[in-house]
C-alpha cells in the first residue's frame, strides 16, 4: 500500500495552512524590504544634509578646487586672519573651517592643513576634502617638474588582462565575479534551506511524538514512508515559501527601487560626474557587456542539472538526519546535543566554500571538500560555475547518493525505534544500540 502521496499531501497542507507559516511567508519580504527602505532612506537623509564649509587658503594653491555642490557650499575667506575666520565661522554656524596655512614649499603643505569645527566632522567630509587637496597637490607637483595636465591625463592607463583557456575559450575577470555570485548564491541557498526546513521537519516529528499519534499512524504505514512523506511534504512547503518570497521580494524590490532610484541617481549625479568621466574612457557600456557575456559563459546546462541534483541530494541527506534527531528526542530542548554534529559540517562547508573556492576553485582543499558527502553539496555547487570535470561531479554525486541511502537507512532505524520511545533523553550509546533492534 503506497500512502506516500497521502502523507505528502497532509504534511504539505498542514504546513501551508499553519498561521505562523502564512504570516512568515508574507511578512518576511515586507520586513526585509521595509528594513532596506529605512536604511536607504536614512542614508539618503544623511547625505542630503546641507553643509557650508569655509575655506581659508593662505597658499593660494587651492583656488578653484572647492566647487559648490547641491549639498555642500564652500565660502572663500581668503584675506582674513585665522582668529577672525574662526570667529566668523562660529557666528555663521558653518559646518567647519578648512585652514591651509602658508608654507614655503608644496612638500610642507601636506602637514599644515587643519579642519576646525564645533563637533568632530564626519569621516566622509574629511575624506572628500583630503581627496580634493591631494589631487590638486599632485597636479601642482607634477607641473613644477614640467609635466602638463594634458600629459597627466594622457598617462592615465587602465589595463585589463584578457583571459583565454588552452581550448580557446575566452573569459574575463567579470566571468570570475559572475561565477562567484552564482556559485555562492547556490551554495548559500542550500545552506539556508537545510537549516530552515530541516528544523521544520524535526519539529513536526517531535509534534507527532508529543501528541502521541505516532503509534496510531505507524500501525497503518511504514516508518520510512512516514519519514519520506514528511521530508517531501515539508520541502514542497519550503519551495512554495521560497517561490513566494522570490516573487514578492522581487516585486517589492522593484517598487522600492523605483521610488528610491530616481532620488539616488539625482543625488549622486554630481558626485559621480568626475568618476563618470574616467569611466567613460574605459567604457561603461563595455563593462556591462562584459558581465552579460560572462553570464553567457556560464556552463548553464551543467549548472542547472548539477544544482537540481546536489540541492536535492544534499537537502534529503540532511533532512533525514534532522528527522532522526526529532525521532530520538521528546522535546525541542533536547535536540541541542544532536544538532551540533549536523551543523558542524554544514558550517564548515560554507566556510570552505567562501574562503577556498574564491581563492582557488580547483585547489586541493576545495576539491577534497567537494567530494566529502556532508560538505559536497554546498562546496560543489560553489565550484561548478568555474567548470568542474564531469567525472568529478559524477563521483561526488555518487558518493552523495550513497551516503544519502545510508543516512536514510540510519535515520529510519533511529526513527522506527525512537518514535515509540518516551521519557528518557537517549545517549549516543543508546542510539547506536537502537540500530541493532
Amino acid at each position: 500500500m503506497n500512502h506516500l502521496p497521502l502523507i505528502i499531501k497532509r504534511e504539505y497542507l498542514t504546513k501551508v495552512r499553519n498561521k505562523s507559516f502564512i504570516v512568515m511567508t508574507f511578512l518576511s519580504p515586507l520586513i526585509m524590504i521595509a528594513l532596506f527602505g529605512v536604511v536607504a532612506y536614512l542614508s539618503q537623509l544623511n547625505n542630503d544634509k546641507e553643509r557650508t564649509i569655509s575655506v581659508l587658503d593662505e597658499t593660494g594653491y587651492l583656488k578653484d578646487v572647492f566647487q559648490n555642490t547641491e549639498t555642500t557650499t564652500y565660502t572663500n575667506l581668503t584675506g582674513l586672519s585665522l582668529e577672525d575666520a574662526i570667529a566668523l565661522v562660529k557666528e555663521k554656524e558653518d559646518y567647519g573651517l578648512l585652514h591651509i596655512a602658508a608654507v614655503d614649499s608644496l612638500e610642507l603643505m601636506t602637514n599644515n592643513v587643519k579642519f576646525y569645527s564645533e563637533e568632530s566632522p564626519s569621516m566622509s567630509v574629511i575624506f572628500k576634502l583630503e581627496g580634493k587637496i591631494a589631487e590638486r597637490l599632485r597636479e601642482k607637483k607634477l607641473e613644477k617638474d614640467g609635466v602638463t595636465l594634458a600629459q597627466i591625463e594622457a598617462s592615465n592607463t587602465t589595463i585589463d588582462i584578457a583571459q583565454e583557456s588552452f581550448d580557446g575559450e575566452k573569459s574575463s575577470k567579470a566571468d570570475s565575479v559572475v561565477k562567484l555570485i552564482f556559485g555562492g548564491a547556490a551554495g548559500y541557498l542550500l545552506f539556508m534551506f537545510i537549516i530552515i526546513y530541516g528544523n521544520m521537519i524535526m519539529r513536526s516529528v517531535i509534534e507527532e511524538k508529543t501528541s502521541r499519534i505516532i503509534e496510531v499512524i505507524i500501525s497503518s504505514v511504514k516508518p520510512i514512508q512516514l519519514m519520506m512523506g514528511k521530508i517531501i511534504g515539508t520541502s514542497l512547503a519550503g519551495i512554495t515559501q521560497f517561490v513566494i518570497w522570490a516573487v514578492l521580494g522581487g516585486v517589492l524590490m522593484l517598487i522600492v527601487g523605483f521610488i528610491f532610484n530616481i532620488d539616488i541617481l539625482a543625488m549622486q549625479s554630481q558626485q559621480q560626474e568626475m568618476a563618470l568621466q574616467t569611466l567613460q574612457d574605459s567604457g561603461i557600456n563595455q563593462k556591462v557587456g562584459e558581465y552579460f557575456i560572462a553570464f553567457q559563459h556560464l556552463p548553464m546546462t551543467n549548472l542547472i542539472i548539477a544544482f537540481l541534483f546536489f540541492f536535492i541530494g544534499g537537502y534529503l541527506l540532511y533532512s533525514s538526519l534532522y528527522a532522526a534527531i526529532g525521532a530520538a528526542v521528546d522535546n525541542e530542548t533536547d535536540t541541542q546535543q544532536f544538532m551540533l554534529p549536523i551543523l558542524m559540517p554544514l558550517i564548515l562547508a560554507v566556510y570552505v566554500g567562501v574562503f577556498t573556492v574564491i581563492e582557488d576553485p580547483h585547489g586541493t582543499v576545495s576539491t577534497v571538500f567537494s567530494f566529502i558527502p556532508l560538505t559536497s553539496p554546498v562546496v560543489m555547487l560553489m565550484r561548478i560555475p568555474f567548470g568542474v570535470p564531469l567525472w568529478q561531479q559524477g563521483l561526488s554525486l555518487l558518493l552523495l547518493i550513497g551516503t544519502f541511502i545510508f543516512a536514510v537507512w540510519f535515520a529510519a532505524k533511529i526513527y522506527r525505534v525512537g518514535i515509540l520511545m518516551y521519557g528518557k533523553k537517549p545517549t549516543y550509546k543508546e542510539l547506536f544500540k537502537w540500530l541493532r533492534y
Binding site: 497532509r10 501528541s211 499519534i213 496510531v216 505507524i218 500501525s219
Partner: protein, 308 residues
C-alpha cells in the same frame, strides 16, 4: 481453522533485554480475547508485533491462516494505549486522513464516518479542531477511527481509560456489538472487572513469558478449589460447627446475609460432590446460603503473578 490469529513461539529482544520469550497465543474467531499481564510484562511488544510495528526475532504470526504481511494492516484496527491525534487538525479531515491510511477510499470513509458520527451523536464536531475537544471526546474520535475500516481483528489497549462511566459503557456496548457482527477482539487491560464482563478467553503474560491461557471459564474451573461458601442457621451453633470441622476443611467466611449464625468456607475433597456436602449440611442445620467459590479474574491474576 477456527483461530483468527495464531502467534507461534514469538520472541523479541531489545538489546540484552528479553521482551518476549517464546510466547504462543491463539485467538479464536469471534471471541473477545483478554491479554493480561502486569506493567512491563511484554503485552505491548506482542501487540506491536501483531501490528507489524516491530518484527519478532523468532517465531511466526498468522492471521486467518496466512503469515502476517503488510496487506494485513487493513484487517487490523489498533487503539494503542499511548494514543493521540494531530491537535491542530480538524476532526473530520483527520478522520478521513487516518481512514485513507487504512486503505479506505475517501468517499467510502466519508459515508462511514457520517454513520458513526450520527450513531455517537457527535455530528457537530466535524469542523472542530482536536484541541477544542476534551480528552474523553478525543477518545471517542479515536475509537471511531480504530473501527471505521471494519477490521477482522480489533486490538484495544486500555480502551476505557479517560472515559467517564457512561461513555465507558457506551464504548463497551459498541465493542460487544462489533463482536456480534463478527469481529474478533484482543483486549488488553489492567481492569479485571472489564475482563470478567467482556472476555471469553484470556492469556496472561508475566516477565516476558506466557504463564496462563485458555477459556476464562476453563481457567476458573482449573483454579477453583472445590470450596463452598455456606450460611447456616441453627440453635446449636457450636455443635454443628465442630461436626462440620471434623468432616471438612473449614475457613471463616464473610458475606452479607440476614442472619449471622454460621458463615463458613468449606473445602471438600476431589471425590466429594457438592450434593454430598449439601445433604450433610441440611441434616445438621438450615441452609440459607450455598454458593461455589469461583475465583475472580483478579484473584487468578494476582495468584499467578505471585507464584511466578
Amino acid at each position: 481453522m477456527n483461530d483468527l490469529l495464531v502467534a507461534n513461539s514469538v520472541s523479541k529482544n531489545y538489546g540484552n533485554f528479553k521482551a518476549l520469550n517464546e510466547v504462543s497465543i491463539a485467538v479464536p474467531k469471534g471471541s473477545i480475547f483478554g491479554l493480561l499481564g502486569p506493567n512491563g510484562a511484554g503485552k505491548t511488544t506482542l501487540i506491536r508485533i501483531i501490528n507489524q510495528i516491530t518484527m519478532p526475532d523468532q517465531g511466526t504470526v498468522h492471521l486467518d491462516g496466512q503469515p502476517l504481511k503488510p496487506e494485513h494492516i487493513r484487517d487490523i484496527g489498533y487503539l494503542p494505549e499511548e494514543r493521540g491525534l494531530y491537535k491542530s487538525m480538524k476532526v473530520g479531515e483527520q478522520c478521513l486522513y487516518l481512514a485513507q491510511l487504512k486503505g479506505l477510499s475517501k468517499s467510502e470513509a466519508k459515508t462511514r464516518l457520517k454513520y458513526w458520527f450520527n450513531k455517537l451523536e457527535i455530528g457537530d464536531w466535524w469542523n472542530k479542531k482536536i484541541q477544542e475537544l476534551s480528552k474523553g471526546q478525543a477518545q471517542k474520535i479515536q475509537f471511531i477511527v480504530t473501527v471505521l475500516h471494519q477490521p477482522k481483528l480489533l486490538i484495544f489497549d486500555e480502551p476505557f481509560s479517560g472515559f467517564d462511566p457512561i461513555n465507558a459503557n457506551l464504548i463497551k456496548d459498541e465493542i460487544l456489538q462489533l463482536r456480534d457482527e463478527g469481529a474478533t477482539v484482543i483486549f488488553s487491560t489492567h481492569r479485571m472487572e472489564s475482563v470478567e464482563e467482556l472476555c471469553d478467553h484470556i492469556a496472561l503474560i508475566h516477565k516476558s513469558n506466557k504463564v496462563l491461557d485458555g477459556k476464562l471459564n476453563d481457567i476458573k474451573r482449573q483454579y477453583k478449589t472445590n470450596t463452598f461458601e455456606v450460611g447456616l442457621e441453627s440453635l446449636n451453633k457450636d455443635k454443628v460447627f465442630s461436626e462440620i470441622q471434623n468432616k471438612f476443611e473449614v475457613l471463616p467466611a464473610t458475606f452479607r446475609n440476614l442472619n449471622d449464625d454460621i458463615k463458613l468456607n468449606i473445602k471438600i475433597g476431589e471425590n466429594t460432590s457438592p450434593n454430598d456436602l449439601l445433604s450433610f449440611l441440611t441434616s445438621k442445620a438450615e441452609v440459607h446460603h450455598f454458593v461455589e467459590v469461583i475465583p475472580s479474574a483478579s484473584d487468578i491474576f494476582i495468584q499467578t503473578v505471585k507464584n511466578n
